[in-house]
Symmetry: C2
Subunit: 255 residues, 2 copies
Amino acid sequence: MKAVIITVGNEILKGRTVNTNTAHIGSFLTHMGYDVLRNLVVKDDPDEIGWAFETALSVSDLVVSSGGLGPTFDDMTVPSFAKHFNIDLVANQEALSFLRHKYQEQNLQVTPERLKMAMLPAGSIAVKNNVGSAPGVFMELRGKKILILPGVPAEMKDILANASSLIGKGDLFYYEETLHLEGVMESSLAPFVSELMKKYSGKVYIKSHPLGMENNNPRLDVEVSSTGINKKEVEDAVKNAIGEIRDHWKERIGK
Amino acid sequence: MKAVIITVGNEILKGRTVNTNTAHIGSFLTHMGYDVLRNLVVKDDPDEIGWAFETALSVSDLVVSSGGLGPTFDDMTVPSFAKHFNIDLVANQEALSFLRHKYQEQNLQVTPERLKMAMLPAGSIAVKNNVGSAPGVFMELRGKKILILPGVPAEMKDILANASSLIGKGDLFYYEETLHLEGVMESSLAPFVSELMKKYSGKVYIKSHPLGMENNNPRLDVEVSSTGINKKEVEDAVKNAIGEIRDHWKERIGK
C-alpha cells in the first residue's frame, strides 16, 4: 500500500524551517508497512493545497499532511481541502468540547478564531492532540485514508501516534540493516553493488551513503533494505546481501 | 519568477535522512529573487523522476533538483531526466577531463561506473564540483532553466554557488524581519494579524511560529516578509507591519 506525505508551509519552501516532519512521518509509515511514494511540499495557498491532495489521492492509499492547521488566517489546510473536494465544514462536537476544555483550562476566551479549529469536514473524525489545541483530522475519501496534522512537531507526533489504529497497518513488511565500512570508496564498491542488486532481482534495495574521509580513510554506510509481504523472506534477503557485501569488503581491503 | 525544487531519494521518504537540501536551496533561491512554489520529493525511480521534472517545468521558470547524481546504479536522475525528455546522453568533454583529473589525483582507476558521471544530456553545461566528483548539470529546456545537483550536502552547496551566474537573478526583491514576542499566545494575536494582512492587502505575509512556553510564558516568533519588484516598497511594508505588531503587543501586555 502506497502513502504520500503532504507538507504545507511557505517557511519550508523559503528554507526558514527544515522539513523534519516528513522524516518523522516517513519513518512512521515505513515501519507501519507502507511504501512512501512521494512528499509534496506546497505553499499556504488554497489552490496549491487542493492540487497536493488531488495528486496524492490519485497515486496512493493513504495521505498524511502536516502544516496549516491552527487558529490563524494562514492555517488553511482544512478549508482548502474541504473546498477542493466539495465537502462541507461542520462543527465537530468532539473537537468543540476538546477546544472549550483546553481554553477554559488556560482561562482564555473562546473566540471565533479559536473555534475555527472545530470546523471539520463532514464525516471526519477529530484525533486527540495531547500537546496543543488543534485536533488532527481523519477521514476516508474515494476509498482512501486521509490524516491532516498540524505543523508543530510535538503536536504532529502526538496526533500521528494517536491515529495509529485509524491508519491501520500497511500490507508490507519492512526490514533494513546498515553496514558501516571503512577504507573503501563509494565508487569502488559501485560495480559490486550493481551486480548484487541484479542478483537479488529487485528484492533488496542497496544504498550507499558516503560519510567523507577520516585520516585519509573513506567511510561509507551501506544501507540494505527490503520490503515485501513475507517477513522471513524479507529478513533473509537483507541478511544475505549484507553478508555478501561484508565478504567482498574484507577481500578488497585484504582482511 | 517561480522555482520548483526536486529532491530525489528513497532515504528522504523513508525518513532515514532529513531533507536539509531543500532548506538550503529554498533559502538560496528566495534570496536570489525567486518565488519557490513547490518541493517535489520522489523515489529513485525513472518514472517518478520523469514525473517530477515534467510537473516542475509546467509551473515554474527554474527547476533545481538534488540527489541521485553519482557513480552508483541507483543514481538515476540524469538518465531518467534525459529519457523523459528524449535528450541524448553524450560524453561531456569538460566533465570527462574533470573526472579523469579527480581520479588520477587519488590514484583511482577510471572505471565505466566513474565515467558514467561524464555522460550528460546533449546541450547541457557541466558545473564545477570542488568538493566531490559528480559535476552539476545545467541546461535550458522549453525556455526554462534546470540545474541538477548531487545529494551530498557539501557538494550540492558548492555546485549551487558555482551555478549562480547561470541561474541568474529572479525578478523579485525579497525582504523579511522576525519579531520575537513573549507573553502572548498565537491564538490571542490571530485576530489582529488577520486584520493587518487585510490592511496590507496581500503585500506582506505574516506567519507566527509558536515556540512553546517558558516559565508559564508563551513565546512566539512573528515573521513578516514581503516580495515584490520595488525594493523600497518591499522593505517599507515589512518595517511598517512589524511596527504595528509591536505596538499592539505592548498595548496588550500593558507596557
